[in-house]
Symmetry: C2
Subunit: 436 residues, 2 copies
Amino acid sequence: MHQHIPTPERVLARDLVALPEGAPASLAGWVHRRRILKSLTFLVVRDRSGLAQVVVRDAAVARHVEALPEETVVSVSGTVFHNPDAPGGAELVGPAVVALTEPAEAPPAELWRPTFAAGLPTRLDHAAVTLRHPRHRAAWEIAAASMRGFRSALGGLGFTEVMTPKLVETATESGANVFELDYFGRPAYLAQSPQFYKQMLVGVFERVFEVGPVFRAEPHDTVRHLAQYTSLDAELGFIRDHRDVLAVLRSAVVGMVEAVETYAGDAAALLGVQLPRVPDEFPVIHFRDALARVGADPDEPDLSPAHERALGEWARAAYGSDFLAVEGYPMAKRPFYTAPEPGDGRWSASFDLLFRGLELTTGGQRLHRPSDYAAAVERAGIDPEVMGGYLDAFRHGMPPHGGFAIGLERWVARLTGAENVREVALFPRDLHRLAP
Amino acid sequence: MHQHIPTPERVLARDLVALPEGAPASLAGWVHRRRILKSLTFLVVRDRSGLAQVVVRDAAVARHVEALPEETVVSVSGTVFHNPDAPGGAELVGPAVVALTEPAEAPPAELWRPTFAAGLPTRLDHAAVTLRHPRHRAAWEIAAASMRGFRSALGGLGFTEVMTPKLVETATESGANVFELDYFGRPAYLAQSPQFYKQMLVGVFERVFEVGPVFRAEPHDTVRHLAQYTSLDAELGFIRDHRDVLAVLRSAVVGMVEAVETYAGDAAALLGVQLPRVPDEFPVIHFRDALARVGADPDEPDLSPAHERALGEWARAAYGSDFLAVEGYPMAKRPFYTAPEPGDGRWSASFDLLFRGLELTTGGQRLHRPSDYAAAVERAGIDPEVMGGYLDAFRHGMPPHGGFAIGLERWVARLTGAENVREVALFPRDLHRLAP
């Protein structure tokens, strides 16, 4: 059906070494770097698989290559030569080089240097180009692999993927920091999380997950917050308590770590990521005991970052674990749908998971009885009218359930050691940034 | 670590038959239906795997079951009895029944009836409950499986999953029908598609896909349009022409069909879905020839629904195919980034894919040279300033590329024969509907 196949077929940079010496081969990609020596020009071509070296001895071809600036897209046909000194162990010699577009403008900083030599604002202002830097690209490869592992782990546990509305009628979940928009002449809001929907869908599918954007009109310029980020949400019914949720969270984390290893191993190596070993069970400490362990006042309502760091160190020493679950946070600090600990209503049947001494995710058991919701909504001062369909679900029969949410960018930042979540998002959105 | 495990462990309805006769077993789920006879009460329990029958002979237990309306969440412990007449081939006898929440309010229409006996507005007003109907739930199971297959097919072809901004600075892609919001005091818009971002990311990853929400402020109340829907987007670089895009689209469709078979086979059977056989190559007809074939005026700029139906019938007769690609639509009807056919600028290097005589998706080759973009943007009357980062990407080297987008709800509606896309969305959003 389709005739004009070029000869030879394109080969990816990483597959060049698998071809026999002397074989004809075509690469296609970006001019990553040129090194013009007296009698020799090296052309490094970058494609989605990595880098390949092309050796140009012909003077006319060398002059042509000189006129193709870094980032120009080229197709290169030549002969395979096995050379242990070349990246990947093979190079292309005797090449013909064809530009597939016009010569490229110079990027805001040279992309071939091992470290990107411009600051974060420059990097983000020109994200479409600066993401091409192998280190920047690598961070997202870890993100993509993590999503894949999350889905695969939950799919294997009988979870159904859902897609919930991002346009909602009321902003009652957490009140502040919500984007308002004009919805055919009336106000609507961007969903800050799929919380209410994933709970309702437990009534349909029992076990659901969603990977999608959530929106926070975060008015502070911090290194931890974005106006849009990717939330990995899960919710499951017929649990005994929040520990069942924690066990599923552990499976999800195992899936994410394994997928990074499998699908983004090179990216992780490039960024020096030490993947965590996930213990068979996450060690758990009660909030009350955590306060005592770090020497905090027993009436403290929360853990400070310093406390979390100290607990992270303790978990490593006591359990050899990068992870520590803190359960039983005071009810007063948890959202209205949180279930209390059986027998002691001061504490919640919820947890934070610390990863290397930093909070990674929050989860727990939710209320499920309609009478409990009626009381909780009243206590929280929420008008039950505006909660319509959500409260309905409980009146029509909902099982004991719970769930959790992992912020994708936060997870990748923790893994890669990035200080700012903006470094691991593709096109971050914040107080000041709405483009590109 | 965790002591209070109930005995026996919960078994899913579909797995009951795998247990030996006389074994103790616990089901948990919703009261799907009760049938109260003189000396016998049948309780049908619904869980995520299906239905299981419980036979109650004890008068006290029967009275208890009588007080548990349909949709109440229960745990049922009893003894396995193999009975070919029971759904799934086994039932539970001698049960103890425990309600896990308060007795449920009656749903807006009985969920145990094979066909949901209320109209679409009732169904959508109470989606959290009405989605529990096995037929409604089944439609989404097909959607979830389709997403899984789409990702799996593209992952296998070296595509990287991306997550792009839904909050954008300008509304230039298609101009109208865009939601505007207040973004920290300045206007922003909800992305109508990831088009610009997926193209820019071809410059980074070569092959990208995204599964996520897109937003259209569709002012018309049609059976085909939603204000938010799920778009399955793909874009790939280093193509020869739009036929390479079509080949990847075919692989994606194969993956979707196979995943529906694998993960939602029961759902497809319940809804009477005839899964299409996907031919090794989609048959292709040029737009010009398509007009001639249906006897339309050669100057027609588009195909009417009647034309599409006629072409679908022709494809089935001529090729035995449920699919037909129509390539070469007039440039005048395609967006500014569309590449023309080589040698004839009247026609575009793009296609529509018809599935059973209805348009399923649009795709094609895009422009990639910066000079072509400069001209196209001027021709379209777009201010290049507002296209900032997008046009930048092309100046910094972009390969020949193309892509496509499949509307998830439209795909599922086509498969299931649903007349209205609202029937296959979880919580649809439209001109009139912003809740639940």
